[in-house]
Symmetry: C2
Subunit: 355 residues, 2 copies
């Protein structure tokens, strides 16, 4: 996903993350040189080129109120990336996913460190412990980066209620997702609810609200426009994610082909497929779904069933409809024209991306 709506914004966000990391990492190593790899693990997420989706939405949420972006506000919105880093690191532990952004997941990296240094005990448990703590630290660093952003105190305080809400919803949504996987639910409605919490609220609506409440002034009406835009777009975003998880190009996504099928992820796409499949298609699909040792031929068979049942087409239509609904919300006059036009662009970028 590329976004060039505000030239230099993504690089300003990246620069502020780098600056924060450069301040914090030496402090950790001062506590103990053993913490070098902990800092390094977080650096990997902060210094690489993530999409910075949530900081971008927060920045636009701020702009929509009429506020002008300052380096302090950029720091404040960039801090959302660290909340996301916590979610990613803990998510990989919970899923047992071994790969993230073309590199071993953090718990795998520390399992390797355990082995290389010839440490005692179970390497796997050490990796998990390290990843839990590094995720926790990311969540704390996020708050610290916001608190120290230099944005006016009144504005920081004003943003905290939404900030807390967003983080509660994130954890609740992650639990719903985990529970949904364990239920092996085939309900389209239930999967959509998870999508709503995991992405609708957390990835788009709340970052927009956060940005707005970080502004010197904002109107309740602006928050409503952001909800009307963010919730459907977030669902569309998550559905695109479902499709990428099944049909994505490994060279682009950095994850193995058909990863979600191998993991047996209960997505809206899978629920839709199963609701439309014939008995024999259903059997064929479930035979290989969630098998860690599934091969490429079997993945292709599952993909074909997704296409032939019409589930793929149905999701594409749903994505388009929800994107249009999101874009329609921008017709209201409550937010600045600049923000409306940027959000319009973001809607396309977020739902047509390939990784």
């Amino acid at each position: 996903m590329d976004f060039d709506g505000i030239p230099g914004l993504t690089s300003a966000i990246n620069a502020s993350l780098t600056e924060f990391f450069d301040q914090q990492a030496p402090y950790l190593e001062e506590i103990g040189p053993e913490l070098g790899p902990v800092a390094g693990a977080l650096g990997h997420f902060l210094l690489d080129s993530g999409k910075r989706l949530r900081p971008l939405f927060a920045a636009i949420g701020y702009l929509g109120t009429g506020g002008e972006l300052t380096p302090e506000i950029v720091r404040g919105v960039a801090s959302l990336e660290l909340v996301h880093v916590c979610a990613l690191i803990h998510d990989d532990v919970m899923d047992g996913s071994g790969i993230r952004r073309r590199a071993p997941a953090i718990h795998k990296q520390f399992e390797t460190l355990h082995e290389e240094r010839g440490l005692h005990g179970a390497g796997e448990q050490f990796g998990v412990a390290a990843a839990i703590l590094i995720g926790d630290l990311a969540l704390v660093w996020a708050a610290k980066m916001l608190h120290e952003s230099g944005a006016p105190a009144k504005q920081i305080l004003g943003s905290l209620p939404i900030y807390d809400e967003m983080r509660v919803e994130l954890m609740a949504g992650q639990y719903l997702d985990t529970y949904e996987q364990a239920l092996a639910s085939e309900s389209v409605e239930r999967s959509l609810k998870v999508a709503r919490y995991k992405s609708g609220k957390y990835s788009i609506e709340r970052p927009l609200h956060f940005g707005a409440t970080l502004a010197p002034q904002f109107e309740q009406e602006q928050l409503e426009i952001y909800s009307n835009y963010g919730l459907p777009l977030g669902e569309a975003f998550q559905l695109r994610d479902d499709l990428i998880g099944v049909f994505g190009d490994p060279l682009v996504t950095g994850k193995p082909a058909g990863d979600d099928l191998r993991e047996g992820k209960r997505t809206v796409l899978v629920a839709t497929t199963l609701s439309k499949a014939s008995t024999s298609e259903r059997e064929m699909f479930l035979r290989n779904f969630g098998r860690p040792d599934v091969n490429l031929g079997q993945i292709d068979t599952m993909r074909e069933i997704i296409i032939e049942t019409g589930a793929l087409a149905e999701l594409e239509i749903l994505i388009e409809e929800m994107t249009l609904t999101a874009q329609a919300a921008l017709k209201s006059v409550g937010i600045t024209e600049q923000a409306a036009s940027l959000l319009d662009e973001m809607a396309v970028a977020a739902t047509t991306r390939t990784s």
Copy 2:
């Protein structure tokens, strides 16, 4: 540990935790009834009778500046208990400990829920995932409780730098501890450093600082007195923990006898024992140390070695010395007499406790 220095303070802290829980739990269940057990798990920690050590120290830290306790400030300091709940829940996952406060640890509770509801996938992984998220949620609830405490905005903002510092140090200290265990280190010096971060700073010094910075006004000198008191006392506190982990009465601690020996925990007590043991004592000790299937007779043998090497006596002396050092710091006139006298009492309570 009993503390009656300020009649009603512990119950006021408990009441504010109950109040917060009663507000938040319904909100979670509104997101989804599946979140009922998540709320319940946190309720277990908030509604039971923990020692509330960190809130108490924070309350006294506040009083020492001359501030008067209000219900809003009690809420603010009580929120530290939720940071600690996060640490406990994640700690149990990292250690693979099955029992906490006489009940199954959270990850075990959710493993059981997985089984009872006949959910799919590995129950153990589900339990770990749930515990990671519930710990994360506790950390977020902690911040939310502080932000919404109703304490004056300026004072909340003033406390955030220390609050963040404390949380970074907590995660760093936990990693150092995990690493230390994996190193199977026998260095007394290294174990003391871990004790310093895990308890000295996190459990006592920083809560005192947090309370002070939450006050309408505080002096740098007061923070220094709290450091001079908190750091040695924190170490003494941790050493008492080491002793309870080996010699504690299961009826009082709620944990199995000799739990730390079974887990093979690398504490200052163990490092001291090994540094003083003869070759044969050392061999006998290490033969059973860290064996999950160790029996009571073998635990008794290890305890005898700890006593006969003089390690037990050495720790008791160290605890006494550090407690005296902590108490001596209270002779400075920078904090209120009331706080100095309360801290004097707390020093005794924290280092002579039996659980």
